[in-house]
Symmetry: C2
Subunit: 249 residues, 2 copies
């Protein structure tokens, strides 16, 4: 079995309302199949959905100003972060670790100032990344006649490891969590704690297949057909640990 | 650029003192190159290095017995875990999150009862996984005449995400952390926090390329030649966040 990751190359600059699914379909190879997976960096998804904010239009409130002063951040960015955040998990040493409205735990609620179209613009996470993935899947299917699974990805830091790795914040048509619990191990012993975050693993490697300094948001992933489903399924929500199971609040 | 992952298939059962590098070299394709990477599941590395413990020979101490009772675990396993552990980060709800002697933060200090050769045997992490990777690289080079980079991997849980993903606990000849900080982004804007945990991303996807219930510890990774170095380099140590930067102790 070979697993492969191929960047679909540079897509045109995406703006609010643009047909991102159409752009992806155009960039996809002619032999695109319903067994394939396409991993899409969330920034173009967010931009197409209009999930950007101009900082000039943000009025930071009292809490944002206080936190910004404490952490050495732009109070307008902190205001935008707080608006997308249901809980501050940590706010220290210049870092804001947030639980987002989606239940994701990440720095700055995923709000990102890099790769925005304008210098004073920040890009937010999609409102519902699983729904974004489903819409992209439908759109690609309409354009190509085949419905590859879709991942919407973002780069997350890790609590105890240096550097970032992409994870799947949205998914449609891929079993995000490949759950082997209860199945027998190689020697017949039960695998007691083996549930593989397959969508995150695919997202992480997809990020290696594109140049970080070029506009290559979409990566074709082949070899995961055993995890591709006709139904869109529960999406990447399956990978979000519920707050009540969080040992690190 | 295509990134690909190919399982090298079933290796013979590995026992203490066995020539794992020789087995990997034999399983590798004839066109193996010094631009390639081979990701190896740590369990076979640990077994070859004799890093296994028979539970019948373990005498749990007072602390291990108390923790085991509290968490519903085998006191002998807890004794083995504590011996490899410099700090208990969390011990609750049946879970032991440890900082290991290597500075890795993971469940049970990486001590694993699944896939051991005997029912009462547990497999520990290698004493120095970067050194293990270097030795394997030297051994494969001796057998094949080319020195692919080597990753030693383990499956880690994540604080806020469900499921496990493989990470690189050891590395030789691969730039584990692809650090773009300070380089210009696509629009000339500085990427302020982009250091990609490339070795972890490769480890995670390598795990998708092999069947979890079969003996396929080694996966050939192609397409990362830009990160492969002639020198063994700093290894996966570059990915361990120092305790003083840990916000979640």
């Amino acid at each position: 079995m070979v697993l492969s990751f191929l960047s679909l190359g540079r897509l045109p600059e995406i703006r609010a309302g643009d047909d991102l699914a159409g752009s992806i379909a155009e960039a996809a190879p002619p032999d695109l199949s319903g067994d394939d997976v396409i991993a899409v960096a969330h920034k173009v998804v967010s931009k197409a959905e209009g999930r950007t904010v101009r900082l000039a239009e943000v009025r930071p409130g009292t809490r944002a100003r206080a936190l910004a002063a404490e952490l050495g951040k732009d109070p307008r960015v902190v205001e935008v972060v707080l608006a997308d955040c249901t809980e501050l998990v940590r706010a220290e040493r210049g870092v804001l670790i947030c639980r987002t409205r989606h239940g994701l735990v990440c720095a700055n609620a995923g709000v990102d100032a890099s790769n925005a179209a304008a210098a004073d613009e920040v890009v937010l996470l999609p409102l519902d990344p699983d729904a974004s993935a489903r819409r992209l899947r439908t759109g690609v299917a309409a354009a190509c006649g085949v419905a590859p699974a879709i991942l919407v990805t973002d780069s997350f830091g890790r609590a105890w490891r240096v550097g970032q790795a992409d994870v799947a914040i949205g998914a449609a048509g891929l079993v995000a969590l490949d759950d082997w619990r209860g199945r027998a191990g190689a020697r017949g012993r039960e695998l007691r704690a083996t549930a593989i975050a397959a969508a995150d693993a695919a997202a992480a490697a997809a990020d290696l297949a594109r140049g970080k300094d070029s506009h290559e948001p979409a990566v074709l992933v082949r070899g995961l057909e055993r995890l591709v489903t006709r139904d869109d399924g529960p999406g990447a929500a399956a990978l979000r640990r519920p707050p009540e199971e969080d040992l690190f609040r």
